[in-house]
Amino acid sequence: MDYLPNIIFAVILIAGVGYFARNIKKLIRNIKLGHDVHTSDNKGQRWKNMARIALGQSKMVVRPVAGFLHIIVYVGFVIINIEVLEIIIDGLFGTHRIGLKVLPESVYGFLIGSFEILAVLVLVAVIVFWLRRNITNIKRFKSLKGWPKNDGNIILYFEVVLMCLFLVMNATDTSFQSMNAGNVVSQYISPLFGDNPDTLHLIERTAWWLHIIGILIFLNYLYFSKHLHILLAFPNTYYGKLTPKGQFNNLEAVTNEVKLMMDPNADPFAAPAEDDNADEPAKFGASDVMDLNRIQLLNAYTCTECGRCTSECPANQTGKKLSPRKIMMDTRDRLAEVGKNIDANNGEFKDDGKQLLGDYITKEELWACTTCNACVEACPVSIDPLSIIMEMRRYLVMEESAAPMELNNMMTNIENNGAPWPYNQQDRLNWVNE
């Protein structure tokens, strides 16, 4: 039964990757509950944005300390995962450090050596992150409670464990240590484990297995966590808004109706123009996640819950209930709820008497927004909380006529005299002679 470890490894690997794939499929299905949007334009600019914002993390360094540490963890984590490739091959084929067979010792040593240094840097950064999150008085972290707070910490613990396992694995690998190339860090921890070759081998094997199992758990944890952003930041920045921030979309369905109303030759009884039920939205604006578009739903899954948006929000800074981070988290929570509903009802959504508006996001929050775009500017992964706020305002006003009274007065004035105040349009030029 020499192959037993290989088989066990293959089973664990397939189970881990398979479960992850299943969740990703669900995620895509959930995102597709939203309206389709045209995004096939400006491919060049989109790739550039992705490279700059997601890969280059250009928005992270706006806050230099956090940005720098984040880049270390990010680069460290991505690069160290190259090591996982070796683990997978070794695991499947029963080899040991296959890298040594294909690469010259010096190159292999250099690689592993860099990984070890990065592992230490990641450890340091993660500890600082933990302190920032839990000890210092940073409002955007302190205001997180319950799951979102734990989620942030869990991932940090994960990283500590994975980095330690990697270093222990190297430190207790006697042949690797005796090669004396690449053990830049592990040579110093190696003595801690004594020199009994059997014990060392046992520890090495345990660390090796835990390392790969840990990575698979990490992978599957992502789906439930704000850490989906390490994957979704890429598509999300690709699909990010390219037009000026101040430009809000014009609702096409409204355009058609207004044109009809303004056209003196239009026959009011004529059947609506062709492609009437093509993909016209059933309602104006959004009261639930299905009324949002796919990019907005992708935004919700991508949100890292960092709170940079909220800390820049004028409404939030002055004690109002509105928090753009909460808008994104609510959207994601509701979307996850709808997804579970669909899973439980054989692929069909069964009305659960709830919706995003009211059950998650209140009117009070929506009406506090100044549409200033500070949240959009602050977001490190190109999320647009403002567009969701606007869709819900549209629903409130156009479907429910539920604007605050003063706003209704203002709009009636515009309708009647072309100004938000009750002045006569004929008097528009009076200022010249006043």
């Binding site: 209930k321 605050p404 515009i414 349009q425």
Partner: protein, 262 residues
């Protein structure tokens, strides 16, 4: 001794069979709001001084619909937009200048899809253009040595990436420009945007304009410069709330330049 402003309308130009260089979009605030009317007049004074061939729509101008759109009333917005576009297109307008960043953003970015395609600029951009072209000169002594801090309007700055034009214009006054900690991209809103101007704020522990005014006061300015009629109102109210109206004034960039003319 009030000098008479020359404000021709498009209808008058049309009657003479002429086209102006530029249409001045006065906007609702600029037409009716007492404080904003002063900004409108200051800007017209500059246009007159620079001998700009401009016109206004007068009673043919209607609200852009911007504020209705931000309040969520897409219907009203598009009705207003299409009415205005009909008028503008009938006059074959090519270029528009306005003192209101909200009108600027709305006509520039949201009208094109509805059939209104114009070259739209903000008045601070136009003043810069006039100065650069040598058509307008600034004395540079009225505010010499004064401390001026410029408050970025959200819909000019973040929304449309114009941060430099107002600052460049202000440099001509030889005043000392001081920046708030939160400026340009990270500037804090004055609190008026998104239809807030027309309603009471939601419950909170402070008004946004007061917070922004406090940020401005940190720079110990003599003058807070604005580029938007709504910002102007908000900052003026903020100064009053802080009881600083005796030592600090809030002026639009156009007013500062108009006061610094021969």
């Amino acid at each position: 001794m009030k000098e008479q402003l020359k404000v021709p309308t498009m209808a008058e130009y049309m009657a003479e069979g002429k086209q102006p260089e530029i249409l001045f979009w006065v906007g609702s605030a600029g037409s009716y709001d007492d404080r904003a009317k002063k900004i409108t007049k200051a800007f017209v004074k500059l246009l007159n001084n620079a001998n700009v061939d401009f016109a206004v729509l007068g009673a043919e101008e209607s609200n852009t619909g911007d504020v209705a759109k931000r309040a969520g009333n897409e219907f009203l917005f598009q009705m207003q937009a299409m009415m205005n576009i009909e008028v503008l297109n009938a006059y074959e307008i090519k270029r528009i200048v306005t003192c209101d960043p909200h009108s600027f953003n709305c006509i520039k970015n949201e009208y094109p899809e509805l059939g209104g395609i114009y070259d739209v600029i903000h008045h601070t951009q136009y003043i810069k253009e006039l100065i650069d072209a040598g058509r307008l000169s600034v004395k540079g002594d009225t505010y010499k040595g004064k401390r001026i801090t410029f408050h970025d309007p959200c819909y000019l700055g973040r929304a449309n990436n114009e941060f430099d034009a107002p600052r460049n214009v202000l440099q001509n006054t030889n005043a000392t420009l001081v920046e708030m900690k939160k400026h340009k991209r990270t500037a804090l809103c004055c609190g008026a945007g998104g239809a807030q101007m027309f309603k009471e704020p939601e419950k909170g522990d402070k008004d946004v304009n007061v917070l922004r005014t406090e940020q401005a006061l940190e720079t110990t300015p003599d003058i807070i410069a604005t580029g938007c009629p709504y910002c102007n109102t908000m900052m003026t109210d903020g100064i009053k709330a802080k009881e600083k109206e005796d030592s600090i004034i809030v002026l639009d960039v156009a007013e500062l330049i108009a006061n610094d003319q021969d």
